[in-house]
Structure formats: structure tokens, C-alpha cells
């Protein structure tokens, strides 16, 4: 009964006004002694008596006990006094906690226009308020800080504040006339003028000294920019120069990185093509090819091994993609099949085997890559493999399985004994303690 909102109360922000305070906090307030004893059958007038007895603002403290301030706020929400009464609460000068209470209530229930018009004058009030913190201790702060919190932050006194429209929006629509005029504005203007005068006098002396230094530095800077030599103009020196330098470095790194990938890809295709070309077209001219191929092979292989050489940069990958990828795969399969077959001349066999070894060494990584990349030729590839797929898969499976099980083990242990991971050594703990301002450990 005592917890029901007044029957003639209107909805606020689309809901029962009491629901503006969250359910958990609300329940705690309803269960609190203060509510049951003192807040029973209060009216908008008698609540003033209670509010006058307040000595702090705050949300919950200690073991989540609601402050009396919060209880009275809920009572106001329950009663839903009229706007005039709330305005009177705010505009009274005598009782600052009543004023704070009114302000809080208005922030919860009022429209944006009302909030700005009634709460901004309170910025002029600089009286001290006491706030009860979560730990139970008190903290001193000022009324204008409280109002500022109400207007800016999301949560005050453990309550979520309803959305407040921005001041600029209201100014644009004409509800508010112009930006906020601070009470301190006149004082600030005077101060600024004074500062400028004082500042300019001292600056003149300092500028002449600094100029000499700056001049030298300026020349150095410009020299450095020129040396970078990508031909870009530097508008500002100094800061922008550094930024551009960084950008340039990053960009060049990226470019190199991409190029590396391109090169590897193009190398791969190129070598495949070269294999095929070598085998298909020049099958007749074995002798020449052998010499020629060995040299090429070695060169290619070394090129791969030593990372990316500059020579590759200007090779056009487009030339290598003459053939359909499928054809290339299939022909490579043919090559490999042929390569692996034993019924050859010793000459060929030696050559093939040497090529085998080399092919295999740089086939394998690309092969595994292409497994993931190309779904189509997979059927062809799966038939011909020079290594056991079971071993290959098992390698990966074990890794995943091992990883999965180990993570599960960690999770299981984390509840039980995984704390061993989290324990710091004595030195580390001591370092932390000193950083926090505590005395070191007594061993």
C-alpha cells in the first residue's frame, strides 16, 4: 500500500515514476528502516521537514544501504508534486539539501528545457555539500559540482539519469536563447585581458632568443626533409614532417609487405610454369635443357630461400598467369607423377630426383596453402600425394586437440588450482606494493 505511486500520478518518461529508480535499489529503499518509519504518509509539504533534516547526498553506502536522500527522492517520485512546488524547492536559498533534492528530482522527471532553465542558475551556488560514498565515508563537494554532475554524467547517486538533450540542439530549435552565460564570464574576460598584456611583454623578450635557435633548427629540418627525397612538399616543418615521415615509412613498409606476398605468389606460379614449359616444350633438347634447367632451378630455389630479391620486383606476374589454374594444377600433377616414376634413365632419374627434392621442398608449403585456397583442384591433388595425408592431418589434429584439451584443462584448473599461474613472486609483489605506496613484504 505504502509503496504504490499516487493514483493521480502521471507517467514520466513513459513509465511509472517510481521506476525511474532501478528495481534493485527501489526494493532496498522500500525495505529500509528510514522509509518505513519516517517516509510513511508524507505529503509535498511534510517532506520539506524531512528534507531539512538531511545532512548528506548520496546513493548507496556500506552494505548497499540507501541514503535518506535517496529515500526522499523515491518518496517525491511516489507523490509526484507539481512543477511549481518543485521549482520552489529548487529556488529556496535556506536549505541546501532541499535544493539538492529538488534538483535531483527535476533532473529525473523534467523535460530538457526545464532542466536547463532551472538547474543552470544553480551553478552560482557554491555551498558545500556532504556526499556519502559507497564505502560509507563522507566526502565534501560543492553544489555547483553536484549540478554539473547532474547535467553531464550518466549516473548520479546510484541512479541512471534519463537522457538529456544537448544544449546546442535546444538552442537551435529556439527553446533556449543562446549559449550559457556563465556568471564568471565577466571576471574571466578581465582576467584574459590582463594575461594577454602580461604575456605579450614577456613573449617579446623570449621570441628574439628563441628565433636564433629556431632558425638553425629550421634549416636542419628542411635539409632533412629534402633528403627523404620522395619529392613531397613539406608545408609545415617539425610536427607534420615527423608525421609524414612516419606515414611514408609505414606506407613503404606496407608496400614492401604486399610486394613480398605478390612476389611469393608470382614466384610460385612462375616456377610451375617454368617446370611445365621446360618439360613439355623442351623435352627434345634434353642436354641443353639440363644445363639450362639446373641453373634455373638453382637460381629459383635460391631466390626463394634467400627471401625476396630485387630482381623479382619487376617481373610482371600477369605474364605467368597464361594458363588456367586448373590446367596448371593438372599439368603439375602430371609432372609430379612423371617425376616420381622410377622407370627412367638414370640420367633422368638423377635429374628428376634432384628436381624432386627441390620441388618437394618448396612445393609443400604452397601445397598446404592451396589446399585451403582452391577447392576445385583438390580432387586431383588428393589422389597424388607424396606424403601421407593421415600423418599430415594427424599433425594438425593433434595440435588442435592438444590446444583444445589444454585450454579445457586450464579452465578446469583455473577454478581449482590454476591460481599458480596468477601468483606473483616476492620481488614483483614488492615492486607492486611500492608502486601502490605500501610497505614491502615482511618475510
Amino acid at each position: 500500500m505504502a509503496n504504490r505511486t499516487a493514483t493521480d500520478a502521471k507517467q514520466i518518461h513513459g513509465t511509472n515514476p517510481q521506476f525511474l529508480i532501478e528495481k534493485i535499489v527501489r526494493t532496498r529503499i522500500w525495505d529500509s528502516l528510514y522509509w518505513k518509519e519516517k517516509c510513511f504518509a508524507l505529503t509535498a509539504e511534510t517532506i520539506i521537514d524531512r528534507a531539512v533534516e538531511l545532512n548528506c547526498v548520496g546513493g548507496q553506502y556500506g552494505n548497499q544501504r540507501p541514503t535518506e536522500f535517496l529515500c526522499l527522492t523515491l518518496k517525491l517520485l511516489q507523490l509526484q508534486p507539481e512543477k511549481d512546488i518543485v521549482r520552489l524547492y529548487i529556488q529556496n536559498e535556506d536549505y541546501k539539501y532541499l535544493r539538492a533534492l529538488g534538483a535531483f528530482y527535476l533532473r529525473l522527471t523534467g523535460t530538457s528545457h526545464e532542466i536547463y532553465s532551472y538547474l543552470e542558475p544553480l551553478y552560482a551556488d557554491s555551498r558545500k555539500l556532504r556526499r556519502r560514498l559507497n564505502s560509507g565515508a563522507f566526502e565534501l563537494f560543492h553544489m555547483d559540482e553536484f549540478i554539473d554532475e547532474l547535467l553531464r554524467s550518466d549516473r548520479v547517486c546510484d541512479t541512471i539519469l534519463p537522457r538529456l538533450q544537448r544544449r546546442e540542439v535546444l538552442e537551435e530549435t529556439g527553446d533556449l536563447s543562446g549559449p550559457r552565460k556563465s556568471v564568471l564570464e565577466d571576471e574571466l574576460d578581465e582576467e584574459e585581458l590582463e594575461e594577454l598584456e602580461r604575456g605579450s611583454e614577456s613573449e617579446e623578450g623570449a621570441v628574439s632568443e628563441a628565433e636564433g635557435r629556431d632558425g638553425d633548427r629550421g634549416i636542419e629540418d628542411s635539409e632533412r626533409e629534402v633528403d627523404k627525397g620522395t619529392g613531397r612538399e613539406e608545408m609545415d616543418g617539425g610536427r607534420n614532417g615527423h608525421r609524414d615521415e612516419r606515414e611514408r615509412r609505414d606506407r613503404s613498409l606496407d608496400r614492401n609487405g604486399d610486394r613480398r606476398d605478390d612476389r611469393s605468389r608470382s614466384d610460385r606460379y612462375d616456377d610451375r610454369d617454368r617446370d611445365r614449359r621446360r618439360d613439355d616444350r623442351y623435352r627434345d633438347r634434353r642436354d641443353n635443357d639440363r644445363y639450362h634447367d639446373r641453373r634455373d632451378d638453382r637460381r629459383d630455389f635460391d631466390r626463394h630461400r634467400d627471401g625476396r630479391r630485387d630482381g623479382d620486383r619487376y617481373r610482371d606476374p600477369r605474364d605467368d598467369r597464361d594458363y588456367d589454374r586448373r590446367d596448371r594444377e593438372r599439368s603439375r600433377e602430371k609432372d609430379r607423377r612423371r617425376d616420381r616414376s622410377r622407370s627412367r634413365d638414370r640420367r633422368d632419374r638423377s635429374r628428376d630426383r634432384s628436381r624432386d627434392r627441390r620441388d618437394r621442398s618448396y612445393d609443400r608449403p604452397s601445397h598446404s596453402d592451396r589446399r585451403s585456397k582452391s577447392p576445385l583442384p583438390q580432387r586431383i591433388e588428393e589422389k597424388k600425394k607424396n606424403y601421407s595425408s593421415k600423418k599430415f592431418d594427424s599433425l594438425f589434429k593433434k595440435k588442435d586437440g592438444g590446444g583444445g584439451s589444454s585450454s579445457k584443462a586450464d579452465a578446469g584448473n583455473g577454478g581449482g588450482g590454476g591460481g599458480a599461474k596468477e601468483s606473483l613472486s616476492v620481488e614483483e609483489t614488492n615492486k607492486m606494493r611500492i608502486a601502490l605506496g605500501l610497505k614491502p613484504l615482511k618475510l
Partner: protein, 69 residues
Amino acid sequence: MIEVICNDRLGKKVRVKCNPDDTVKDLKLLIAAQTGTKPEKIVLKKWYTIYKDHITLEDYEIHDGMNLE
């Protein structure tokens, strides 16, 4: 030097080394440094006993190896 184990029942379990004459507040600072939560948000409990900030671990009879939540 004692080592206290703090469990948040959601997977975070830390072992914190501290002195017996540290207050609960200091212990919360240490826990916060290790777990990353804010010290103001930490509530140390044992069953329903909430440990207050200004009392030392010694007075609470928190010994080596005790588990707190």
C-alpha cells in the same frame, strides 16, 4: 608474509602476497593491481561476512592460504 587466495567465482583466481598487518583496503589494492578491477569495486567476503576496509588482516584472523571471495 602470507598468501591469500581470492576467487571471484567467475574464473578469476589470484594469489596475493601480503603482510598480516595490511588492512583490507591494502589487500584490495593489491588484488586490483593483479586482476584489473577497480579497488573500489572489490567486495571481499567470507560467506556473508563482508570485510571492512579499515581493519587489518591480522584482526580478521586471515591466515596464510585462506580463500576469500
